[in-house]
Point group: C2
Chain length 425, copies 2
């Protein structure tokens, strides 16, 4: 898919013609949130396009899904429909198109909105959000810090994709500012008698994750077969699972993380369709045990070859790329997560979101959280200007970036950014 567009698209754009990710936008002159597709430097306004009857007949009959404030109805149409819409849009944007859109400047002006004029909204109404723990390198590194190297990975780790239910109400779109959380943490974590205080979080962290949206659910009591699970995947976003480590360490036993995670989770605004990611299948981390039958995929290229980076921008404007890694650093596939999530009967719904778990590589400079980069705060890491850092400070911005493919045909996410504001008094 390196077809050229008649639109001018920078070769390093995340939003090449090979991508066409879906999102929800509004503008200052049309404040209704509505579906759009990102292409080059533009948002292609699907609500306006479909309202003007510019889709072909087959797509027009379902164009009501583009007159919604979320992508849930579009997603629920299923992957064959997403494919048709994406292919249709690719065809009318391709250099060799005969579609009127290529020549009708006035139509173009109504449909193509510069991304700089667009406000992005959450793409989906998220019924439930689940955060997995499939990044084995991260699970191991974090386990060493919380429990020591002997018990770093729990006995269940290789048998099932460990996860916890997250909080859907605090999922926000890139650009939303985040107040430093206040909460309970130990005065002295090493003291014999545990004594907490109430204070602004001192150990604020991010987690680099891949998010996955569901387009199709299941009936309660009817698990989804791992081999059919691909059909349930709408698409992917970048996900930053902000984490208050000092609060987490105190609260997480025995029922898991709670207020240390539920204050905010940031996602990138454009959902890259499962179809757009299909060419980038690749090997992931090999699980050396034989898993239960309901988790067996018999596929070697189940992971996604997505280059991932994390930028840290200080309040003085200096930016350091503090992590470079790849989404192949997962040990469980999204189909395996879907099969496991539903195995006891849990119903999924269109719009549900999964987080992959933190993605860390094994090389120098490839870690997906500050917890790992600082070895639990024991050492600093260096920024671009030589300054040293441990955890996030007020005014810091964290930007996740990710893309698959190559120059002229990138399939990317755009930015997933959040800035830390001081704690409320």
């Amino acid at each position: 898919m390196a077809v050229k567009s008649w639109l001018s698209i920078a070769p390093d754009s995340d939003f090449s013609l090979a991508n066409l990710p879906f999102g929800i936008i509004s503008t200052s002159i049309n404040r209704s949130p509505r579906p759009a597709v990102a292409i080059g430097n533009y948002a292609f306004d699907l609500a306006t396009f479909s309202m003007e009857g510019s889709f072909d007949r087959e797509l027009s009959v379902n164009a009501i899904v583009f007159q919604q404030t979320t992508l849930n109805a579009f997603a629920a149409m299923g992957r064959p429909f997403h494919r048709k819409v994406r292919q249709y849009l690719q065809s009318i944007l391709a250099e060799d198109t005969s579609h009127i859109f290529k020549s009708d400047k006035s139509l173009q002006e109504r449909i193509l909105i510069p991304l700089s004029d667009v406000e992005n909204h959450l793409p989906m109404d998220i019924g439930d959000y689940t955060d997995f723990f499939a990044g084995r390198n991260h699970a191991f590194n974090a386990g060493v810090l919380f429990r020591g190297p002997q018990n770093a990975l729990q006995p269940n780790y290789h048998h099932l994709p460990v996860a916890y239910h997250g909080r859907s109400s605090s999922i926000v779109v890139s650009g939303t500012k985040i107040n430093r959380p206040r909460g309970q943490a130990l005065v002295d974590p090493k003291a014999e008698v545990k004594f907490p205080e109430f204070r602004p979080c001192k150990v604020l962290d991010f987690e680099l994750e891949l998010g996955m949206f569901l387009c199709q659910g299941n009936q309660m009591g009817s698990p989804i077969d791992v081999k059919a699970a691909q059909d349930h995947i709408f698409g992917y976003v970048l996900l930053n699972d902000w984490s208050a480590r000092d609060i987490q360490a105190w609260e997480y036993v025995p029922l898991g993380p709670f207020t240390a995670k539920n204050f905010a989770t940031t996602i990138s605004p454009w959902v890259v369709l499962a179809d757009a990611m299909e060419p980038f299948g690749a090997a992931g981390i090999v699980n050396d045990i034989e898993v239960q039958s309901y988790l067996r995929e018999n596929k070697s290229d189940w992971a996604l070859d997505i280059m991932l980076e994390v930028d840290l921008t200080l309040s003085d404007g200096t930016t350091s790329t503090i992590t470079k890694t790849n989404a192949r650093n997962l040990m469980w596939s999204f189909p395996q997560m879907i099969a496991h999530h539903t195995i006891t009967g849990c119903p999924l719904r269109p719009g549900d979101l999964f987080g992959s778990g933190t993605i860390s590589g094994t090389e120098q400079g490839s870690l997906g959280s500050l917890l790992e980069m600082t070895q639990g705060g024991k050492q600093s890491f260096k920024l671009a200007d030589g300054k040293e850092r441990k955890y996030l400070q007020d005014g810091d911005s964290v930007s996740l970036r990710g893309r698959a493919g190559k120059t002229g045909a990138y399939v990317g996410f755009g930015k997933c950014t959040g800035t830390i504001l001081p704690a409320h008094s």
Copy 2:
């Protein structure tokens, strides 16, 4: 509130004039789910009543909230509005009313539907569900079984209301049948090398909990003050947190329960308003430490004096009451849970549901789960007909019942029932 009604209400009815709980119903002749109130043996159809203009003028202007398929819009109006509606309904149902409803038999026939003709639906669209762990007796008993008496209660237990995010998509209304879950559990939990198998759950349990619905949320980043939290409480239901103990034991480290809990949670259909419960404030379990300021309520009657019972009905029809206890067996109040849930900034929304955690007493026959009754499966308990039991078998029905008050003026929930079907093949 022992005012008599002109309607004939049995003295032991859960739905006395002192109660008037809200729910969502449909009937075979009007299949649209719509709001109603339970009174004696009837559902009072609020959608029809408000459509016929039978509310007084002050309530009529907001009657649109009764033309909805959930109670979310009604809840979001806030407690002063709930109070007005309940008081108005109490007044027209009171013996001394001059309202036309008392004499208009035809209007009564359109509005009062026998409960036996009514199908109940989930009362709220539940954005997020959180399950707390505030029943200290249960937390202790379960902790002994999972970790031994030394570490039964974790160091954080008395400092904060421990909780985990639950799954909102699998919350079902009383009467919904539950398939026995299949999942991963250990072949031999005591073996040194942990080896799981995939099988129908062998250790299926219930948990007796109180549920609480939110009527008012908060902005992200702005915690709810514990002293203002009562205004955020819409009302209460009974909640059965079905639990697959063998699956839970294997999966729950380090991130908490997941597939062992997310297959189903059953709630009673009628939401008892916070106002209706207000007369039943009582002392709960005393927390002997001084908690952080954001959790300090300075109230001694923060718990609810609700008598709770659990019936187990076998497939042969025999019923045994296996538990009698009281909702006072909690150590954290719902306002404390609300304050803690939001302390780092998490936004709550109208319709969100909290579970209290399992409620167990300290006396013989007062335990809120089979895990505790059987000491982790080590001993059987006796049924009414002398048979012995450990965990739930296919065909078993579990009914939670609960009410406050006294004869002629009970404020009760009706039943919260679920029947176990065999595992899907």
